[in-house]
């Protein structure tokens, strides 16, 4: 990769840009495969070998096995694709995912959302 000028960052808001798309292509491709129930079932039968089949590297595989959402984003996961894993495969909702990333309990996270509307 050629060196690039420093990027604008927004604290707490990771951007799915060309760098992330390059880094995360195989991870996102695996998540895209979860549009099919047969693939979701295959993943759940043996998560590690499913990751291997898609060529995920060690840090991506570990983040998957540990349900480490912030790490999944750091290793190139796009949220629309990770959502298929979270929602369709693991049965988590977006407040579960929010709580996992912010260190809040799910109830605290939901209360924060409600407070935003006041």
């Amino acid at each position: 990769m050629i060196p690039r000028p420093p990027k604008r960052t927004i604290p707490g808001a990771p951007i799915f840009d060309s760098e992330a798309a390059r880094r995360g292509y195989l991870l996102n491709k695996m998540c895209y495969s979860f549009n099919s129930k047969a693939n979701r079932d295959d993943f759940l039968r043996d998560e590690r070998s499913y990751c291997e089949k898609f060529g995920l590297d060690q840090s991506q595989t570990t983040a998957i096995l540990e349900r480490d959402v912030l790490s999944l984003i750091r290793v190139g996961g796009g949220v629309y694709f990770l959502g298929k894993l979270a929602s369709g495969v693991l049965g988590l909702d977006m407040q579960d995912i929010g709580a996992l990333q912010t260190g809040m309990t799910k109830e605290e996270f939901k209360a924060k959302l409600v407070a935003s509307g006041k």
Binding site: I10, A13, P14, K29, D93, M94, G98, L113, G117
Partner: protein, 278 residues
């Protein structure tokens, strides 16, 4: 001649699809959101549009990162709703407004918009949920034209460019020779953020200002870059780009038929507007 008879904009949170499937419209959590729709359905009964042209973003159903267009348009005879891995029940297929689709597609390309043309296309929750909110029996009384905007990979098309796309769609519609009443819809938003340490971010003040601008100053939001929009509305709040495409299709002033903002549905400031040309 064809005419845009209205613009309907709404959030498209996947969970709405599950709530519809489970019949939770009167549930206390859901009621404030679903109550936004009966006035819109009364308007639909009165106006009876022939076609819905829907501006939305695909989340990895029809498009993946192997081929990710910035702008795409469907020209198919039918569009299918499919398993998209989010656990949302699928819906009956949608009949395509083929003649209008091809006309708009040709016109946009001549107007310097490099559309990807899709003669086969499946449509995800960003398209199907708003349709089910308008016609809960899912017996679609309209034909459809899907217009898809990239909100997956940054840089996104700029807000200014999205508004101009809407203007170009409006010009194409005005030149379509058949008498056709078209409801343009724009889906997604408003403020929400699913990922990162700032997950759960909602900006009610910005949302209210943006909704007001749809009527009083439709190009207000075109001053913002994609990253400005992330900062103001959250990573997925950028879906308001679809609202801007939709708003661009009516060149003149509009009046509000109905407007609703409810926070939160899932992680989202759930907003709905119905606008009519004046």
């Amino acid at each position: 001649m064809a005419k845009v008879v209205g613009i309907m904009t709404t959030s498209h949170v996947p969970l709405i699809g599950k709530a519809i499937h489970l019949g939770l419209q009167q549930d206390p959590y859901w009621k404030p959101f679903f109550d936004g729709f009966p006035p819109i359905r009364e308007w639909l009964e009165k106006v009876k549009p022939d076609v819905v042209l829907a501006c939305y973003n695909d989340h990895g159903l029809n498009f993946f990162l192997d081929k990710q267009p910035t702008f795409a348009i469907g020209t198919a005879a039918t569009y299918t709703s499919e398993d998209e891995g989010w656990g949302i029940p699928t819906m009956p297929e949608f009949p395509g407004a083929e003649d209008l689709s091809w006309h708009v597609r040709d016109s946009l390309v001549r107007d310097d918009f490099d559309m990807v043309t899709c003669q086969e296309m499946s449509v995800d929750h960003a398209f199907t949920i708003p349709m089910a909110l308008l016609w809960p029996d899912q017996k679609w009384p309209v034909k459809v034209v899907p217009v898809c905007v990239n909100t997956v990979i940054f840089p996104l098309p700029s807000a200014r460019r999205c508004y101009k796309l809407g203007e170009a769609i409006g010009r194409a519609i005005a030149n379509f020779p058949e008498d056709t009443k078209i409801l343009v819809i724009g889906t997604g938003g408003l403020s929400h953020q699913l990922e990162g340490e700032r997950a759960g971010f909602i900006n009610k003040e910005f949302d209210l200002q943006f909704m007001d601008s749809m009527v009083t100053d439709p190009q207000w939001a075109t001053q913002f870059s994609d990253l400005d929009l992330v900062e103001q509305t959250g990573n997925e709040g950028v879906e308001l780009l679809n609202w801007l495409v939709a708003r661009g299709t009516i060149p003149g002033p509009v009046r509000v038929v109905h407007s609703n903002l409810h926070i939160p549905i899932s992680n989202t400031a759930a907003a709905t507007m119905l606008l009519e040309p004046v």
